[in-house]
Structure formats: structure tokens, C-alpha cells
Amino acid sequence: MAARKLAPLGPNGGAEDSLAKTNAFFRKKTLVLFAMVVAFFVINGVSGAFVEFDFVSAAVDVPAGIVWMLSEFAPSASSLEYLDSIMPALGSTILASVASSCIAAVFSFILAVLGSRSVGIGGPMALIVRAIASIFRNIPVVAWALVLLFSFKQSEFTGFLALFLTSFGYLTRCFLETIDEMSTGPIEALRATGATYFQIVVQAVIPMSVTSVISWVLYMIETNIRDATLVGILTGTGIGFVFDVYYKSFRYDVAGLTLVTIVIVVIACETLSNYIRRRIM
């Protein structure tokens, strides 16, 4: 709970005292803040000029755009007929998200245990695992989708694979952090009793990390449902494809309905995850 004190702020009661003492510090701090504000405008200006971003028109257009969006994308009565085509796609997207997260979690966990600094097998493994995690995580999902599309063609499985590969990289990194942050005491204790490596993993590492692991998997499922839209547009599968079809054929009301169903699913998923997290502690 105790957040590290990042600035010399007076603790309880000593507010006046420490304020007086740190007046000079705050003058310096003000300068730093000023420099940051300048840097902020410079970077924004340069970036804006580079991509020809018009701040004024953005400020005017975006609110207007939101209003336009709310009216155009509002699901109409006639769009409800399309629920029949939306629901199966939504279902398959949810299933693919869960499956890709869970299967990726199994591989990620094994890799993370082997590569962790505290319970890993040591040597170059720690570096190799980190490199694998970083590569899989940081290759754009767009690139995965495009490459997979070459050989696996347009099918649900292609979308699943693209989600699986990014989840694998992401979860490996999260699990590595979880395991490394874990207290090493019980592992040392079991080592001292003469337990073998595999015994230590099953009897200590898994029980100690299981809540975080489940928590990350739930988060990954939620993220994958959202990312499945992007992957779906690229690979022509799932809810993303359905949205894309109606969007491109200017049936904005149906596209809006699709959007609403996604929002409902994601929020439900988030709520359920939070509930589960509390229960499994």
C-alpha cells in the first residue's frame, strides 16, 4: 500500500514546516514543470504539423462527429432483424477469445516458469524467454493476421491463431512478472527439504501464482474480445467481419447494433472477471 514518496512532501501534521523547508525545491520544481509544458507544446506542434493534424477543426469536428455518430449509428427497429446474423458471429468471437487466451496461458506459464529469474532453470533461458515474449508481443497483430491469411485462408481458425500468438507473447510477459515478484521464501524452504524442481513448481509456484495467473487470463479474454474485432476485419471472421460488412454497405444502424452487442459483452466480461477475482483470492 505504501507508495514510495516521490517528492519531499511533508507527512502528517508537518505540512507547514516541510512546505517552508522545501520552498526552494518547489521553485526548481516549477521550472521543471514549465519546461515540461513547453516540451508538451513543442512535441504536439511538431507531431501535428507532421501529420497535418488540425487542432481547431478537430476540436470543432469531434463533438459534432459524436452527435452525428449517435444519431446515425443508433440501432433502428429494422436493424433488430439482423440480430440473427450478429449473434452467431458474436458467439464464435467469444469462444475464440476464451480458447486462445486459455491455450496461450498453458504455454506461457510453462515458458515463464522456466525463464523466471527466481525459479527458472537459469542460464540463457531467462534471456531467451524474454526475447520470445517481446517478439511475439510486439509484432503487430496486423502482420500476424496477414501472414496467417496466406496459408490458413479465411476461417475462424486463422482469427484464433492470430489472437493466440499475441496472447502468448503478452501472457508470457505478465506471468514472468508475476513469478518474479512472488516471494522466493517458500521455494527456498522446499529446496531445503530436498524437494525436486518439479515438486517445487507444483507444490509452491503454482499455488502462489494461481490467482494472478487466472486474473491475467480473464483480462486477456476481455482484451481478446476487443482485439477480435480488429483481427476479424483483417481475417474476415467473427464479429469484426460482421461489423465491417454492414459498415462498408452503409447500414450504420446495423453496424451500431453490432457495436452495442460488443459493448454489452465486454462490460459483462469485465464485471464477471472482477467478481471472480474477488472470489478466488
Binding site: 512546505l19 476464451v98 481458425f157
Partner: protein, 282 residues
């Protein structure tokens, strides 16, 4: 805790000593694991695997992946300059999104922090943010590109929503960690709300806020590449999309992937260091 524990040594039905008892949390855990496994198996069984031969496709995909990663290069569709400019365009989109998002999120964050605001305002903002977050980024961008026309404004506007939702959560949680004693002392000395914010909240949390902002910049770059590809919002993502699905050239895809990878890895390393140094979790 009370001295009332469980009675010693229970036995199983077969008369053996019982060592494992199922606590509530364990039971919940097994239910969750069981459900996840069941859904996964069900999903894999009913999944549409397409018409391709699985084994052949795997071999082909690995071959393509290898070709992409081992022989990156230009093939005449883009010049080196195009790609570099594209990369900087994506970076610029990410920077604009991050900065504008940070300003908006800072204001929302103050009102979302329960110790600086009130319960009602905090809840309203939190609900609004979870709706922002629930709509996939790519859909925000697609919607805005018809609402205000294709261009950097639509891309930034679309990327903004998730950026704001993320930063509001990060900022407000940082604010909520502020020592209540400090706030009490300042309130007791008659400081106004904005004085408290500028004299206590910002100075104490500057590093943490900046760290979160940078971490979001990393995520925004990844997102900028993705929306560039799908929504045609420009940048290196769009070039990646052209190379992959229009020119069908794996060498160019490889080159662009390496560029994105390099930037993302550098950003990731910086973000990890910032997180370690300035953000103390729990």
C-alpha cells in the same frame, strides 16, 4: 483471530487421514478453471478450420514467417523514405493521442479520485470510462472516419477514447494513494481545492503520472499501427497493410515488422524501467 479452529485429523470416507480440505476460494478457483477448460474444448471442437490441410498450412505459415523474418527488404512499392516517414507518422499520431488524452484524463482523473472528488462524480466518470473502453479502438476510428472524414483527426479522435479511459484509471488510482494525512493537514490549514491539487497532489505524483503517460504512449503506438492498417488512417500500419494484402510481398512486410518491432521493443524497455522505478504497485 479467534482460537476456534477446526477439530484435528479428519478422515475420508475410506478411513484415510484427510489432508486436503476445499476452502471456498479453492472451490471457486476450480469452478473457474473447469469452466475455462470446458469452453476452450467446446470452442476448439466446433471451430471452423476452413478447407486447408492443417499440417500443410502450418508448414506454409512457418515458411512464410521465416521468409518474412529472414529476408526483409524493399521491393519497389515503397522507398526507404516512405517507410521512415510512415513510421514517424505513426509515432506522431501516438504522441498526439497521448498528449491530448493526458490533458483530458488529468481533469477526469481528479474528479474520478474519491479522495479529491465525491462519490457520485467518481462513479459517473468510472461508468463512462468503462463504456469508452468497451468499444474496440478500431471501431472508434472507423466510426469517426465516417463521422468527420478520413484523416489524422479521425485517427486521433478514435485512438483517444481508450487512451483517456486507461489514463483516467491510472491517474485516479495514483491520486487515491495520496496520504490522507497530507490532505487533511492542507484542508485544515484552509487550502482551497485547486491549491491542494497543485501544492500536494501534482508534486507528489509527477513521476508516477509521467510514467503512466509514457506507458500509454507505448500502447498508443501499437494501436496507431493497427488502426493505420485497417482504417486507412495512414502511417506505417497502412504500408504494412498494403504490403501484406495488396502487393503480397513478404519482404516488405518483414522490413516493416522489424521497424515496428524495434520501436516497440525500445518503448517497452523504457516503459518497464519507468514502471519499476516510479510505480509501486500495491
Amino acid at each position: 483471530m479467534s482460537e476456534a479452529g477446526n477439530s484435528p485429523a479428519r478422515r475420508t470416507r475410506s478411513g484415510k487421514l484427510r489432508v486436503h480440505v476445499m476452502h471456498k476460494a479453492d472451490a471457486a478457483l476450480w469452478v473457474v478453471v473447469g469452466a475455462l477448460v470446458a469452453v476452450t474444448v467446446f470452442a476448439m471442437v466446433i471451430m471452423d478450420y476452413g478447407k486447408v490441410n492443417f499440417f500443410d498450412a502450418c508448414v506454409a505459415a512457418l515458411g512464410d514467417f521465416w521468409e518474412m523474418m529472414s529476408t526483409p527488404g524493399l521491393a519497389g512499392h515503397f522507398t526507404a523514405e516512405d517507410v521512415i516517414v510512415g513510421l514517424f507518422e505513426s509515432l506522431a499520431l501516438a504522441a498526439l493521442t497521448t498528449f491530448i488524452g493526458a490533458v483530458i484524463a488529468f481533469v477526469f482523473g481528479l474528479f474520478a479520485a474519491v479522495n479529491l472528488s465525491n462519490k457520485a462524480a467518481s462513479n459517473v466518470i468510472k461508468i463512462l470510462m468503462s463504456i469508452f473502453r468497451a468499444v474496440p479502438t478500431i471501431l472508434w476510428v472507423l466510426v469517426f472516419s465516417v463521422a468527420i472524414g478520413l484523416g489524422p483527426e479521425a485517427a486521433v479522435a478514435g485512438l483517444l477514447f481508450h487512451s483517456i479511459a486507461y489514463l483516467v484509471k491510472a491517474y485516479s488510482e495514483a491520486f487515491e494513494e495520496i496520504d490522507p494525512g497530507t490532505l487533511e493537514a492542507l484542508r485544515a490549514s484552509g487550502a482551497r481545492w485547486w491549491q491542494i491539487v497543485f501544492q500536494a497532489v501534482i508534486p507528489a505524483k509527477t513521476n508516477e503520472l509521467l510514467s503512466w503517460t509514457f506507458i500509454r504512449f507505448e500502447i498508443n503506438f501499437v494501436n496507431a499501427v493497427a488502426v493505420g492498417a485497417v482504417a486507412g488512417a495512414g502511417g506505417i500500419g497502412y504500408q504494412l497493410f498494403l504490403a501484406g494484402s495488396f502487393y503480397l510481398n513478404l519482404h516488405e512486410v518483414g522490413l516493416i515488422v522489424y521497424l515496428c518491432l524495434a520501436v516497440a521493443v525500445v518503448l517497452e524497455i523504457i516503459a518497464t524501467q519507468l514502471r519499476k522505478r516510479f510505480i509501486v504497485q500495491q
